[in-house]
């Protein structure tokens, strides 16, 4: 039988083909065959006239109002969830009127596509009241683009949504989106306890075991330069020029004891070191150096000589001034720093109260570290481990359990920074009984921009019965230390946060800073561009 209609449509719809519409297989030919040939022929003849009429009607397609046109579909979907959802967050869509629920729950009418991979996002659909909810079946990576397409949904009168609606969302940011630090190739797996650069290419690192390494290519490679049986426990290497550098450590005079401490100096690019001055027994834990125009540098050192002590060394005059030992049992110094103008200095440490308990102590100096006055700290201030000047008067005092204090060395006033300033606070995890603690030990500001500076330290994840997980922490301020944001290291695990704990930071200028720490870790930030992670930065979880 030949249909009156011509063209592909006249052959009837898909027949005998395994095409599925939704979940049903269309088998039109089989349906048609249930009709008698006679009835089909009658219909066919009839349709000749119908088609003529229809074509005439189509030709008048521009008529204003069509009495046969149904009322328009008036429902519109709107996104009831935020445009940024958690990694396994639900996507909620609300219609402004009742809809045919079975059509809304048809998975082919509500599709979610991962725009980073082009793959569908598996999940389930359900209604929560009037809200259609899509829940991904697994957590998506951070910063994953999602395209939600809604189509073919019927209202209660079986009228269809006239056009698909597309919403675009994304998953949340990772905890830290600024991944502007990059790891340098390290020559060692030792704890890198000091780092210092002369310029963007030429720098030194020292390990706690007494090794000194030098790079002349911006950290692409380091060469071993110094190691002596007589020197160990070295920290805080500080370069003044390509030839001249200083560090503190423990010398072994005669190989019998390492109880002495000394300031070492090299004038041959780190090939050899000589003792500038030493004390025995004593400990020097930090070295802060202030370069001066037209004069040799001066430096302040913190440590202990039985009890808390500090030293000031003026290379120009070759003079040594020692503060302490203070004579208070259980008190020990950890770090001292001197302001850029050379007038003010600060010194921090700890006071042991018992075998298991200690609190922080701090001192300030207004004569360049020759003498110090104790600072009144808030009660029960945690152990202080580091200090760094923000400007000529203010310094950060840094310590355990998220302790960040701002000290005015002129007045002795102390202000605590907390969560509102972007300082990470202890996080308790009731599900494991564990907690994450933050310890800070260094602060440095860019010499060319006092608004830009960093605090570094360590995050410790502690779960009872398990080994502690220790990770480094880098906090950046761009407003002179008022607020901080956390930074990550490109390609480090745990979304850029899985790098080792940090010990030292060197800031050449706002465009070049280097940190160092455990497991030979050395990383640099070679531009002040905050390199934020973007969509699809994390293709896998």
């Amino acid at each position: 039988m030949k249909s009156a209609a011509s063209g592909p449509a006249a052959r009837g719809p898909i027949s005998g083909e395994n095409v599925t519409w939704g979940t049903r297989i269309a088998r039109h030919r089989g349906d048609l065959s249930t009709l008698t040939k006679a009835s089909v022929m009658r219909v066919s003849i009839l349709l000749r006239g119908v088609i003529a009429a229809s074509l005439a009607t189509l030709a008048l397609g521009g008529c204003d109002k069509d009495p046969n046109a149904p009322p328009a579909f008036s429902l519109t979907p709107s996104l009831a969830s935020a445009l940024i959802i958690p990694r396994q967050g639900a996507i909620r869509v609300l219609f402004n009127g009742p809809i045919n629920r079975s059509s809304a729950l048809d998975p082919s009418n509500f599709t979610v596509t991962n725009t980073c991979t082009g793959l569908p996002v598996p999940g389930s659909l359900r209604f929560s009241g009037d809200t259609l909810v899509f829940s991904p079946s697994e957590a998506l990576p951070f910063l994953t683009g999602l395209s939600v397409r809604i189509q073919g949904i019927l209202d209660v009168n079986n009228r269809q949504l006239p056009q698909p609606v597309i919403f675009r969302l994304r998953t949340e940011n990772p905890p830290v989106t600024d991944v502007s630090w990059e790891q340098l190739s390290s020559p060692t797996n030792d704890f890198v306890s000091g780092v210092s650069f002369v310029d963007r290419n030429y720098g030194y690192i020292t390990t706690q075991g007494g090794g000194v390494y030098r790079t002349d290519n911006g950290g692409i490679s380091f060469a071993a330069f110094f190691k002596s049986l007589d020197v160990t426990g070295t920290r805080d290497i500080r370069a003044v020029s390509k030839d001249s550098l200083y560090m503190v450590g423990a010398p072994s005079f005669g190989g019998s004891t390492l109880s002495a401490t000394a300031l070492f100096r090299s004038i041959d690019s780190g090939r050899t070191f000589q003792v500038v001055f030493s004390e025995d027994p004593a400990n020097m834990f930090s070295l802060a150096l202030r370069e001066r125009t037209g004069a040799a540098p001066e430096m302040v050192i913190a440590g202990s000589r039985g009890t808390l002590a500090a030293w000031r060394y003026d290379q120009q005059k070759d003079s040594i001034a020692r503060f302490g030992p203070v004579g208070i049992a259980g008190r020990s110094g950890r770090m001292a720093d001197i302001a850029a103008n050379g007038t003010n200095a600060a010194l921090v440490g700890l006071q042991a109260l018992s075998a298991t308990q200690a609190i922080g102590v701090a001192y300030r100096s207004n004569d360049g570290g020759r003498s110090y006055t104790e600072v009144t700290l808030p009660a029960n201030t945690r152990i202080l481990r580091g200090v760094g000047f923000i400007n000529n008067t203010d310094a950060f005092l840094l310590g355990d359990t998220s302790t960040v204090l701002r000290l005015n060395t002129s007045t002795g006033a102390v202000t605590a920074l907390g969560a509102t300033n972007g300082i990470p606070q202890t996080v308790l995890d009731p599900s494991t009984g564990g907690a994450t603690y933050y310890f800070f030990n260094r602060a440095r500001f860019a010499p060319d921009d006092p608004n830009i500076g960093w605090i570094i330290g360590t995050a410790v994840r502690r779960i009872p019965g398990q080994t502690d997980v220790r990770r480094g922490v880098i906090l950046l301020t761009r407003d002179g230390g008022q607020t901080f944001t956390r930074q990550a290291v490109r390609n480090a695990s745990e979304d850029g946060l899985g790098f080792p704990e940090l010990r030292d930071i060197f800031v050449l200028d706002k465009n070049f800073a280097v940190v160092s720490g455990d497991n030979g870790f050395v990383a640099a930030r070679k531009s002040d561009l905050q390199n934020f992670a973007t969509l699809c930065s994390f293709p896998t979880q």
Binding site: N18, H28, V50, S54, L229
Partner: protein, 428 residues
């Protein structure tokens, strides 16, 4: 004891002689107690069973592309007999201040000697400190395992000597002032697979296949073994392909043939071609159909990429269900249309009267910024087909009677006006 006869006496003498001879042999065969000795120029030793050494072998472990764990060995400069762990010599007062790596061999794969980790990957994490007489130095080492190093056990040798106080021989002919230890590296297997283009090594983001309705169209991808161990039990499969347009048409995965659908093993660094052929149903609407191509194996993370079929032919009208019955009570009518163009659908009864009309615009997608696409410039998500729903009512909302109806759809397809019609039966 008294010997009763000469024969008895002879037997006893023989027995004693044999016992003496056996004792003498045992004495000769028994290990002699090594005598420590002073040697000229001194000696240093790498202590067996010290640090990470088990006997004289250090066992390290790591993944390709990373370094091994740190191992340590202990150098001892004996100042007395008790400190001479190798029992080959000692001298009081001799320091070794110029120790250096005398030799590091390549690390050869024990099973397949042609595979090696080059000696340059050996890392001495500590300096070889001056070794004072009577002291010991602990030295850390690790080995960088290059990317792609096949899994397995690798073995090499490290020798330490002093560049000034040169190696020598003790009176027993044993080497002094030069000592060696062996390093065994276990490179752990890491399965890895990647889908790459058929003709290049570029990563395959999606497999796109083009064809006309009724044809068998195919595309090729390659599975690459990017790990360091053979991939085993590799299986390839696809999901159903679903129309990207809002018409809900599905091409079931049963129409997709994969050749080969599986293979038992894929060696390190090799690729395997996989052909994906799709029997495109006759009468299907033109447009994009999207599914997923899956690759799974026993020892690598699963892969999946979009499988996209572009049907380049257009068809007239496709009904979801024909005849249409009271349940679900809705006729779905689909036809092709260019994105952003107008379409119109009329439904006539057998008397030639129009019972229902609807019109609209084919969805042209939405840009990332949220702006709608246009005919000239369709945006992401644009449709190439339309689905219209007829709730089996006339324009006044009254249900239509059973019978045959003619559906006429006018749309623009590939910039050409298309007028399609088809019969639809309603059974109430």
């Amino acid at each position: 004891m008294k010997y009763r006869t000469s024969a008895d006496h002879a037997r006893v003498v023989t027995a004693w002689s044999l016992a003496l001879l056996l004792g003498l042999v045992l004495l000769l065969l028994a290990p002699r107690s090594v005598q420590a000795q002073q040697v000229v120029g001194g000696d240093f030793d790498i202590c067996d069973y010290c640090g990470s050494l088990s006997a004289n072998t250090m066992h390290l472990r790591g993944r390709a592309g990373f370094g091994t764990n740190l191992g340590t060995f202990v150098l001892i400069n004996a100042a007395n007999d008790a400190q001479d762990v190798d029992r080959d010599g000692w001298t009081s007062g001799v320091d070794f201040t110029n120790l250096y790596l005398n030799q590091v061999t390549d690390f050869g794969n024990v099973a397949i000697p042609s595979r090696v980790i080059a000696s340059r990957n050996f890392v001495l994490s500590e300096f070889l400190n001056p070794l004072r007489n009577g002291f010991q130095n602990v030295v850390s080492v690790s080995v960088n395992i290059p990317v792609g190093t096949p899994a397995g056990l690798y073995r090499g040798q490290v020798a330490i000597a002093d560049s000034v106080n040169r190696p020598g021989i003790n009176p027993d002919g044993e080497q002094t002032r030069l000592d060696v230890f062996f390093v065994e590296i276990e490179v752990v297997p890491t399965g890895g697979a990647e889908l790459v283009q058929a003709d290049t090594a570029a990563r395959l983001d999606s497999l796109v296949i083009r064809g006309r309705a009724g044809e068998r169209a195919s595309g090729v991808a390659r599975i690459a073994n990017t790990g360091n161990t053979p991939l085993t039990d590799v299986r390839v499969s696809v999901s159903d392909l679903r129309s990207e347009s809002a018409v809900g048409i599905i091409i079931p995965s049963s129409r997709v043939t994969i050749s080969p659908p599986s293979f038992s093993s894929l060696d390190i660094g090799d690729t395997a071609r996989v052909t994906v052929a799709i029997d495109i149903p006759r009468g299907i609407l033109g447009g994009k159909y999207r599914g997923t191509l899956f690759v799974q194996s026993a020892n690598a993370p699963p892969l999946q990429v979009p499988l996209i079929l572009i049907v380049t032919s257009s068809r007239g009208i496709v009904f979801e269900n024909n005849p249409v019955r009271n349940t679900p009570g809705v006729a779905r009518i689909a036809f092709n249309g260019d994105p952003g163009t107008e379409y119109k659908v009329l439904i006539f009864d057998m008397n030639g009267l129009v019972v229902y009309t609807t019109r609209g615009t084919v969805f042209a997608g939405v840009t990332v910024a949220g702006a709608p696409g246009t005919t000239a410039s369709p945006a992401a998500g644009a449709d190439f087909a339309v689905s219209v729903t007829w709730p089996l009512e006339n324009g006044r909302g009254e249900g239509v009677a059973s019978g045959m109806y003619l559906v006429v759809a006018e749309s623009i397809v590939n910039t050409q006006r298309q007028l399609a019609q088809a019969k639809l039966i309603v059974i109430r």
